[in-house]
C-alpha cells in the first residue's frame, strides 16, 4: 500500500484540486471576451469601456473564491515553496495584466501600425504575452494557462493581420472572441459541475 504513495503526486493533486472550480477559466475567458467586444463597447461607452477590460476578471476570482469555492471545499495552506511561487505569480500578473490591456487597446487603435509600421510590434507583443503567460503556467503548475498564453499570444498579431482584410470590429471578434467565448463557456460548465459535486455543507461542518 505505502510503497505506492507518491507524495509529490499527492501534493500536486491536492494543489490542483483548488483549481477545479473553473474560476480561472471564467476570469480569463471573460477578459478575452471583453477584449473581443472592446471596439463595440468603446463606441457605446467611451471612455468607461476600459472598466469592462479591467474589472470582471479579478472580480470573478476574488468573489468566486470567497463565496463559491471556500464554502464548498474549504481552505488549505500549501508549503512555503508553493506560497512563494504564488506570490511571485501574483506580482507578475499584477504587472502583466495592465500591460496586456494597454497592448490590446493600442493594437486596436492601430497605433503600432501608424508609428512603427509593419507587424513587428504586434508580433513582438504577442510573443511577450505568450512567453510571460507560459512562465506563469509553468511556475503555477496549472496547464490551462498555456492555453490562455496561446489564445492571447496569437490574438494580438492576428488582430493586426486581420484588420486590413476584414475591418473593424470583426478582426477583434475573430481574433479574441472565439477563444474567449470557448474558454468562458468551459469555465461556466466546470463551475456548474463543481457546484453540483460540492454542495455547501451543513452549518455544523462549515462552522468547525
Amino acid at each position: 500500500m505505502i510503497e505506492k504513495i507518491d507524495l509529490k503526486k499527492v501534493e500536486k493533486q491536492t494543489y490542483q484540486f483548488t483549481f477545479t472550480d473553473g474560476l480561472y477559466d471564467m476570469a480569463y475567458g471573460s477578459l478575452i471576451f471583453f477584449i473581443a467586444i472592446a471596439p463595440i463597447l468603446r463606441e457605446i461607452l467611451y471612455p468607461s469601456y476600459i472598466i469592462f477590460l479591467v474589472l470582471p476578471a479579478p472580480l470573478i476570482l476574488i468573489l468566486g473564491k470567497r463565496f463559491i469555492t471556500v464554502p464548498r471545499i474549504g481552505i488549505a495552506k500549501f508549503s512555503q515553496k508553493r506560497t512563494k511561487s504564488r506570490n511571485k505569480i501574483g506580482l507578475l500578473i499584477a504587472i502583466l495584466f495592465p500591460i496586456t490591456v494597454v497592448l490590446v487597446v493600442l493594437t486596436y487603435l492601430g497605433i503600432y501600425n501608424i508609428r512603427v509600421g509593419g507587424y513587428i510590434v504586434p508580433i513582438g507583443s504577442g510573443l511577450f504575452v505568450l512567453i510571460l503567460l507560459s512562465v506563469i503556467a509553468y511556475v503555477m503548475d496549472y496547464p490551462h494557462f498555456y492555453l490562455y498564453a496561446v489564445s492571447i499570444g496569437l490574438g494580438i498579431p492576428l488582430a493586426s493581420l486581420l484588420k486590413p482584410i476584414i475591418g473593424d470590429p470583426m478582426h477583434y471578434i475573430i481574433s479574441f472572441g472565439i477563444s474567449g467565448t470557448l474558454i468562458l463557456i468551459y469555465g461556466i460548465f466546470t463551475l456548474t459541475k463543481f457546484i453540483k459535486k460540492y454542495p455547501i455543507p451543513k452549518e455544523e461542518i462549515s462552522s468547525v
Partner: protein, 108 residues
C-alpha cells in the same frame, strides 16, 4: 544458511511494530493529505479524504490524542474556523511508518 535466514529474520520488521494508528486506511489517508500541505481546514480534509463528518472527527480525535495533529482555532471574520496541521511528532511518525513499510515490502 540457517544463520543467514536468522539474520534476515532479525532485519525484517515484524508487522506488529508498525504504527497501527497510522496504518488504518482512513487515518493513513488523513496523514498523507496533511503531510503534503502546511495546514488545511476540516471541510478541505472531508473533500480530500471522502470521509463523513463523524468519521473524520473520530479519526482526528485519535490522531490528536496521539499528538500527531494539531488543531488550530481561528476566526475568519466573525466565524470560528478550525485548521488542522501535522505536528513534528506526526511528521516523524509518518516518515518512520513509510520507512518501515518500504523496508517491509522490499524484504518480502
Amino acid at each position: 544458511m540457517s544463520k543467514d535466514k536468522n539474520n534476515i529474520r532479525d532485519e525484517i520488521i515484524p508487522p506488529n511494530s508498525i504504527d497501527k494508528l497510522i496504518h488504518e486506511p482512513a487515518r493513513l489517508n488523513i496523514m498523507t493529505r496533511l503531510y503534503v500541505v502546511e495546514s488545511a481546514d476540516f471541510l478541505f480534509m472531508m473533500r480530500q479524504t471522502g470521509l463523513t463528518f463523524g468519521n473524520l472527527s473520530a479519526h482526528m480525535s485519535k490522531l490528536e490524542e496521539a499528538g500527531y495533529i494539531e488543531i488550530i482555532k481561528e476566526f475568519i471574520g466573525k466565524k470560528p474556523h478550525t485548521m488542522l496541521k501535522l505536528t513534528e511528532k506526526g511528521k516523524q511518525a509518518f516518515n518512520e511508518y513509510r520507512k518501515q513499510m518500504k523496508q517491509f515490502f522490499n524484504e518480502i
